[in-house]
């Protein structure tokens, strides 16, 4: 059976069916991320002044990821252009670059997640708070070692941007002095819950897009030999999804890293 309008434009819509399909899908995606962004706005505005974290993210890694994704948006478009001018070699090069950049983004994101999950806030029995990266946490030892600092109040940990020249040292804490300790995972506070939810969902989209791009770059390229125009349309549709993922990050970056 021949599927209609995979290449030709439908007379009533003016575009081929897959393009209408991807735009309908992207519309639903806008509402999905919109719901999460509205949750962010609600929680952010409802938080009392001075209690919203600032400077908790690694800005260097965040900026690097933004540049990586912006570059991948360029390479995915150039891959489509290469298909349009019937230069398959160039397509393979640019699509391969997109795939590598997508995977680079995910690797950097994993490093960031690891940094958060390895960062601990430790409440001591004398009322002080020790905050820093965990260096040693062996259950057989009666102490833990972190690289961080002491804070007198919880509020001192929120705005790291305002506190310049923070000195971090290696701190050895006996377990007997620990009241409770918690890593900076999504359970830690509202901000980190939103951070992990939004970036986690976005990373899943990057993963999904990478799988599709990898398929078109690998086994899916067989279609190029039999129907290059249809293959080009597949590349365009996957590219539109990739650009959307880039668009989401364009807003996630300032919201989570800069404000």
């Amino acid at each position: 059976m021949d599927i209609p309008y995979t290449v030709e434009a439908r007379p009533d819509t003016g575009v081929y069916n897959a393009k209408v399909g991807i735009w309908l899908f992207l519309s639903s995606e806008v509402m999905l991320f919109g719901a999460l962004f509205s949750a962010y706005v609600l929680i952010r505005v409802g938080t009392p002044a001075g209690e919203w974290p600032h400077g908790w993210q690694n800005l260097t890694l965040g900026t690097l990821n933004t540049v990586v994704l912006a570059l991948s948006a360029i390479t995915t478009l150039m891959a489509w252009v290469a298909c349009k001018i019937r230069q398959f070699g160039k397509f393979q090069f640019f699509h391969g670059c997109t795939l590598l950049l997508g995977l680079t983004f995910l690797c950097i994101k994993m490093v960031e997640y690891h940094q958060h999950l390895n960062h601990y806030e430790i409440h001591l029995t004398d009322g002080r708070i020790a905050d820093g990266d965990m260096l040693q946490n062996n259950p057989k030892q009666d102490y833990v070692v972190i690289k961080g600092r002491y804070a007198a109040y919880e509020e001192d940990l929120y705005d790291l941007r305002a506190q310049k020249n923070l000195k971090e040292t290696e701190i050895k804490i006996p377990r007997s002095q620990i009241k409770d300790m918690q890593s900076y995972g999504p359970w830690h506070n509202d901000y980190l819950a939103l951070y992990f939810t939004l970036t986690g969902l976005h990373a899943l989209h990057i993963l999904g897009g990478s799988i599709v791009i990898g398929y078109l770059w690998g086994p899916g390229r067989r279609l190029w030999k039999t129907d290059p125009e249809r293959f080009t349309n597949r590349v365009e549709v996957s590219g539109l999804f990739w650009h959307f993922v880039d668009l989401v990050w364009i807003f996630l970056f300032p919201v989570l890293y800069l404000t």
Binding site: W23, S27, S38, A70, H243, L258
Partner: protein, 123 residues
């Protein structure tokens, strides 16, 4: 809708090598355009970071400035890389509905922030 009805089956196949606006695809021209867009995106990223460190400005002003730059950034990606500046009417209609519902979603959220039951106590 007249414009849509004029599209004939086979148009896209016949226009192989053409972009959504119907113009012939020139590799080097696209490469140059992409380079400009990428440079503009880099400038926007730099501007957002710079704005976030601006002293003597309130939080609301900073957020407004940063989000305005982010919107410009998004326009560059959507307009040039997604070809939204030269898309078909149907896609614009679809996006119009999306924008309407998205605005409704955010609007209801903002409205709900001030719609607390009488006697609500904040801790």
């Amino acid at each position: 809708m007249d414009e849509l009805k004029t599209a004939q089956p086979g148009t896209a196949r016949a226009a192989a090598g053409a972009d959504p606006s119907g113009h012939a695809v020139d590799f080097h021209q696209y490469l140059r355009r992409c380079l400009y867009v990428f440079l503009a995106v880099l400038c926007a990223i730099g501007l957002m970071i710079f704005a976030s460190y601006l002293p003597h400005y309130g939080w609301a002003a900073k957020v407004a400035l940063i989000l305005a730059v982010a919107c410009v950034n998004a326009f560059l990606v959507a307009g040039f890389l997604m070809h939204l500046l030269s898309e078909k009417k149907l896609i614009y209609t679809l996006l119009g509905f999306t924008a309407f519902f998205f605005a409704g979603l955010m609007g209801l959220t903002i409205y709900a922030m001030h719609d607390m039951p009488v006697g609500t106590v904040f801790h």
